[in-house]
């Protein structure tokens, strides 16, 4: 079937199988930042923004995205660059495999709630698993970013 998606701000038309998952479609389009960690919607690695809302692209059919806007990290690197350096300063990037999904969901968090508390950060990102960092370094990174932004404002 034919679908039309606004992918990272650019119109994409493609022919897809009805059972194709959005994650597979996106990777085929070259958006390989989108990672699969579990296939069962438990890890958050495949998070992308669909009409600005974070969704698990392993649980969305490509056909469902027809007519919608999808953003992957490939399209949001500028916005991500504002804060990911603070994660790097903590060494919390580690293996990096969960980073794109974590970064996408953090972007969604900060758009929705520009000044979250630690508990709000933990709650919003609870669905993003990370096996390397132990999570606290990610939190410290976001916290330092928020403080630095506040200092600048």
């Amino acid at each position: 079937m034919e679908i039309k998606i606004k992918l990272n701000g650019r119109q994409v038309a493609a022919s897809v199988e009805p059972d194709m998952l959005l994650i597979d479609f996106l990777r085929k389009q070259g958006c390989v930042s989108v990672k699969c960690g579990c296939e069962t919607t438990n890890c958050g690695l495949c998070t992308v923004l669909m009409d600005e809302v974070p969704v698990l692209s392993c649980a969305v059919l490509a056909a469902r995205a027809d007519g919608h806007s999808i953003f992957t990290l490939e399209g949001l690197r500028e916005e991500a660059s504002e804060f990911v350096g603070f994660i790097a300063d903590q060494g919390a990037d580690q293996c990096g495999f969960c980073n794109p999904g974590f970064v996408m969901n953090t972007i969604a968090l900060l758009r929705e709630n520009p000044d979250p508390t630690d508990d709000e950060i933990r709650a919003y990102l609870a669905g993003n698993l990370c096996r390397c960092s132990g999570y606290d370094g990610q939190l410290r990174g976001i916290r330092t970013f928020l403080e630095s932004r506040r200092g600048k404002a």
Partner: protein, 768 residues
Amino acid sequence: MTENHQPNRTYKTVGKTFRKKDSMQLLLGEPTYVDDITDRKDCLTVKILRSPYPNAIVEEIKTDVAKKVPGVAAIYTWEDVPKNRFAIAGQTYPEPSPYDRLILDRHVRFTGDAVAIIAAEDEKAAVKAMKLIKVSYRVLEPVLDMHTAKDNPILVHPEEDWFPPLPVGGDNKRNLVASEQSGHGDVDGVMADCEIRIEHTYHTKAFNQAMMETFRTYTELDRYGRLHVISSTQIVFHVRRILSTALGIPKSKIRVEKPRIGGGFGAKQTAVCEVYPAFVTLKTGRPAKLIYTREESQIAGSPRHEMEVTVRLGANKDGKIRVLDLYTLSNSGAYGEHGPTTVGLSGHKSIPLYTGSLEAYRFCYDVVYTNVQAAGAYRGYGATQGIFALESAVNELAEKLHIDPTVLRERNMVREGMVMDAYYGETANACALDRCMARCKELFHWEEKYPVRELGGGKIRCAGVAMAMQGSCISNLDVGSATVKLSDDGTYNLIIGAADMGTGCDTILAQMVAECMDCELEDVAVFGADTDVSPYDSGSYASSTTYITGKAVEKACTDLKQQIIEVAAGMLNCPAAELSFSGKGVTRMQTGEFVPLTDISYKIQLNSNRSAIATASSCSPVSPPPYMVGMVEIELDKLTGQVTVLDYVAVVDCGIPINPALARIQTEGGLVQGIGHTLFENVTYDSHGKPIENSFMQYKLPTRLDMGHLQVEFENSYEPTGPFGAKSIGEIVINTPAPALAHAIYRATGVWHRELPITPEQIAMGKE
């Protein structure tokens, strides 16, 4: 003692926090992993048909219908593969692990064992074909209980060509992978003389590493027609050897490289999936890729060895621990990878913690085959299991004697300068365990938090404690190497065979180069790991990279500096002895003449018979243990059995942290992984011995809501054999949560839980 070897010296680059060299690539989602960088259009998708039975013989296998599925390129069965047995454990040759595998075996030994390899143009065709393969199995009775495995008439490996490259006490006709006894002193005599004895058995399960990137390998024929393997692996050189043995082709025909790796934790110290696509590429000449699903990683991966550790502890009433007697029964599953070696750590990396007072010890073990998923290497590598057992037993002793468990440990712990009989007679050159305990108590507010505090409503707050140790490398065995070369603008390339799996070893090794060569970290480019390019390295495992490869880096830099001085000597027409190296160039001390590094490096490229490239290897006669103390405060709900981790404080002695931020993250990550296998991650089996927790839906990794507040500090010691005084950090950090949490749960409930995980159900029902 080299110039870098001075205790308490401060450094310019070492001991400082820097971002990981790959961090921005990773955080911005650039293509860096196996599946991101291998997108040839003609690549075949590889799938594995897996056995539905734990023990069966393939009587007949019909692939004719499956082969007719459009898009199917090839299907291979046991009849098609070489008949030479091999081991997929990533270990130095000759491996302690038995050669008990074929690429495909007619005898399948666990539910999930490989029966056929399918290669197709796309995944859909491969999966469709997989369903159309008709297999007739002669189903055999399995051995599913590790307690009945030894000398069971049903043999997991009855084959005559089972081969152990090293004598480790194994015997396939007894379902024994390995067996050994060791000890020191009169164990039975001292035990009889003790005023108090404790004996319990502790059970840990086949926990999964659950790294975020599952097992995966891409293979192709390169422009010379050689097998080019791009794999998510910790062990490029071992993979090359394993493939050479399995496929029967020389190593000169194989090139193995690893790009970025999405986590390993030891799982990728075993060549779990490499042989399958490699075989497809050799047979078809086409690129092939195999990506394990999460389910495959859970049921046909390489998890922790399930172990039962029986501790017999003898002490005096004053809390003096006089004798320890451990017996470990380890379940290697269907194949023997890492079986003979992991088990050793359950005793040799737990008992030495009590060197301070120990008069005698004994450590015996059996490692058995059963018809469940084969185990492998997982961060902690047996020490985790042994330390859960021994630290729990010591906590049981403390509670029985009504002695504060930290005080009890202070009376018995290993201290700097002691000879550790249970640790191959090594001396604790660098040991700050006593300071770790003191500092941890202070940070944690032990005196306030150790007493049980009832909050009302069935809620209780209390605390638990544990110590841990590990090693730094496998002594007299692991080899780490580094090549450092000067580039023509005065910068450097560092080339290694160790594998950064996210831990940051590329960065910390580059920090060492920057320190030695007195340059900036950004002046050091790192590359690893590729068997065609890298100098030989055993690989990243056994907590060896910082300690062993780091030492090789230091040696290579010393050599390179001398080379640079000699080139400058030629330019200045003076003896090299008159020259001294600084990061910017070379100075002739007497005259003040100075040659900038850039001039030296250009000189090497012009009318020169000299190069500026140094390769060094390193091996160590000792494996200096890092030490640590962990303390946890929990809130336990007696009604529901729910445990909430409130605070975890860990103080670690890793020698010195080369990069404090990365060492801290290692610690925090290890603590949370340890909290996971203690409270959430369960492994139970169906009637066919297949893990029920085969997805993240059931295998519950801790989330950021599950780990409470972590606090990590370092107490430095100085290891004279390590680079800049460093020991290891990567593995030890997973070892304290299980015994510390079990201790806290006992404090709240009065029940010792001696099996992991300790779930709310077990706590609420008061089951041990």
